[in-house]
Amino acid sequence: MRSGLVPGCRGRSRRPAVPRTSTRLRRLGQVATSFAGLPDAAKWVLVAAMLAGRLEIFTLLVLFTPAFWRR
């Protein structure tokens, strides 16, 4: 009997554990090999993410600040 169980409730339904083998090969999900299967919106978001990363975030953020455009 598993720990943490109370006698008399052994028959309760219990969510089955996720089989480990099925996830082992795709731990990083749909984009492990190619981004082709993603929806367009996700691609646009990731394009922005690439730019934000390359420009060290602040360079982009600054452009969205009112203080930058003032004067």
Binding site: V6, G8, R14, V18, V62
Partner: protein, 484 residues
């Protein structure tokens, strides 16, 4: 360091703690429950252990200093966490391994609310009551920790809340001031609990559940006397409304409650930037949650969508962790959005967990200052909270805290995945335990019974790390701390 004074203190603490076994014994008597012997044995054992520690050093009445404070705080939570597990082990009505019992007890005392018990409805009343009481006692400890001790130890910018004291701080005597503020805050805590229990009762809970849930609500714990948590009361919408109100109240800095009580005015709340941010964050997340739930047609009526959306946002956002619905199965980004909200957590000085709203606010303000500095490289830009400038060393401490939080989080998550846990479960389990939230996603959505013993031990440490704001524990493993 005063080891003997610390020993004396721990002895006293254990003796006091042993008396918390009396209420469950009374509950067992009322309900004619066989688990009474487990509590009686724990009572005797703990009292004896405390006495043995205390007797030889009872005359060592030294004043504890700052450095002893770290040791006492860490010992307090670990020792009581382990002692609190003893009734779970001794009860014949319950089969639990040592690891499970320790996990359950630490989860209770840190007011996390993660459980390894599947089949809570079948537990004997005394054990049920005891779990709720663990959370309530944990909450009492947290208030003193958060309002009086953390500011003195200066953990992660919490020195912001330190009251002005003359003279160098290391000479400040800890005990008298802590005792004084603790007393005032416990009255508020007690009053909130009583009001909450009465409200639950009026809303339709039976008296046992009303008191039990009041304990875990005001402590921002999340233990319930039912497997379905608050979902058990799906037919009584008022129960959810009461829970929302009291979770919100318990997530506020108790010092604000104190000021409001003393001055008989609510003005203090709305002058406090942290409180305003706390409400703004929860309102924003609740709006997003309700809108998305409605657009995905998760619930049939607008009323249910609104109620469950707000309830789950407040419950997860304040790190309580009650559930009315299987939120971990909600569509799209919602489960993760709510988990992220739990990182912000409650206000400093509340029973809530997470990073704390004031730190989140300071991080945001510092981020904004960085942008302004890019635009005006030579400008001196002060960071203000409620018109008062915040010293730079506090900003540094908050950033250090955040960095440590992220680093510890990543390490623990990697450890769990190394042990074979899948990514979603690992991420959510660490988040739920470090933020003292409770329920996670994936395999730990409903309970933590099915994960490995190793994972349970690691997550128990995560709960303690979160509750002790990381640095209190980290400090103890630093050689510099032990050097004279």
């Amino acid at each position: 360091m005063h080891p003997l004074a610390i020993q004396r203190m721990m002895g006293l603490l254990l003796m006091v703690f042993s008396f918390t076994m009396v209420p469950p014994m009374i509950v067992a008597l009322i309900y004619r429950d066989e688990s009474i012997s487990a509590f009686a044995e724990t009572f005797a054992l703990t009292l004896a252990a405390g006495g043995l520690l205390w007797l030889p050093v009872r005359r060592r009445r030294q004043d504890l200093r700052l450095r002893d404070g770290f040791v006492v705080v860490v010992l307090f939570w670990t020792v009581l966490g382990l002692v609190g597990a003893v009734p779970f082990l001794l009860a014949d009505t319950l089969v639990m391994t040592a690891v499970d019992a320790a996990f359950e007890s630490i989860s209770g005392l840190t007011t996390t609310g993660a459980t390894v018990i599947n089949g809570i409805d079948n537990l004997p009343p005394a054990i049920l009551y005891y779990r709720q009481q663990l959370q309530w006692l944990g909450g009492m400890g947290i208030i003193v920790l958060a309002v009086a001790i953390m500011p003195m130890l200066g953990i992660g910018g919490m020195q912001l809340y330190r009251a002005e004291t003359p003279g160098p701080l290391k000479d400040t005597k800890l005990a008298p001031r802590i005792a004084e503020s603790a007393k005032a805050l416990w009255y508020i805590y007690l009053a909130l609990t009583a009001a909450c229990a009465a409200a639950y009762w009026f809303a339709g809970m039976d008296l046992f559940d009303a008191v039990g849930h009041a304990f875990s609500t005001v402590a921002i714990g999340g233990f319930s006397t039912h497997d379905a948590s608050m979902g058990y009361y799906n037919q009584l919408p008022m129960v959810e409304v009461v829970a929302i109100v009291f979770m919100l109240l318990a997530g506020v800095n108790f010092a604000l409650h104190f000021i409001a009580w003393r001055g008989r005015t609510l003005r203090g709340y709305f002058q406090d930037s942290e409180f305003k941010t706390y409400l703004a964050v929860l309102l924003t997340v609740a709006a997003a949650t309700v809108t998305y739930l409605w657009s995905q047609e998760v619930f049939e009526t607008p009323q249910r969508t609104l109620l469950h959306g707000i309830f789950q946002t407040v419950s997860i956002g304040t790190t309580t962790g009650f559930t009315t619905h299987e939120y971990h199965n909600w569509p799209g980004f919602l489960p993760v959005l709510l988990l992220f909200a739990s990182f912000i957590g409650g206000c400093a000085g509340s029973t809530g967990g997470g990073i704390k709203v004031i730190r989140f606010l300071l991080l945001l303000k510092q981020g904004r200052r960085e942008i302004l500095r890019v635009i005006h490289p030579n400008a001196v830009i002060p960071i203000k909270v409620g018109r008062r400038p915040v010293p730079n060393n506090i900003i540094d401490a908050v950033w250090g805290f955040f960095a440590a939080y992220v680093a510890v989080f990543s390490l623990i998550m990697l450890l769990l995945m190394l042990d074979g846990m899948d990514q979603v479960t690992a991420f959510s389990a660490v988040a739920a335990c470090m933020n003292n939230l409770g329920p996670g996603l994936g395999e730990v959505g409903a309970h933590y019974a099915d994960i490995s013993d190793f994972a349970k031990v690691v997550l128990s440490v995560a709960m303690l790390l979160g509750r002790l704001e990381i640095f209190t524990l980290l400090v103890l493993v630093t050689p510099a701390f032990w050097r004279h």
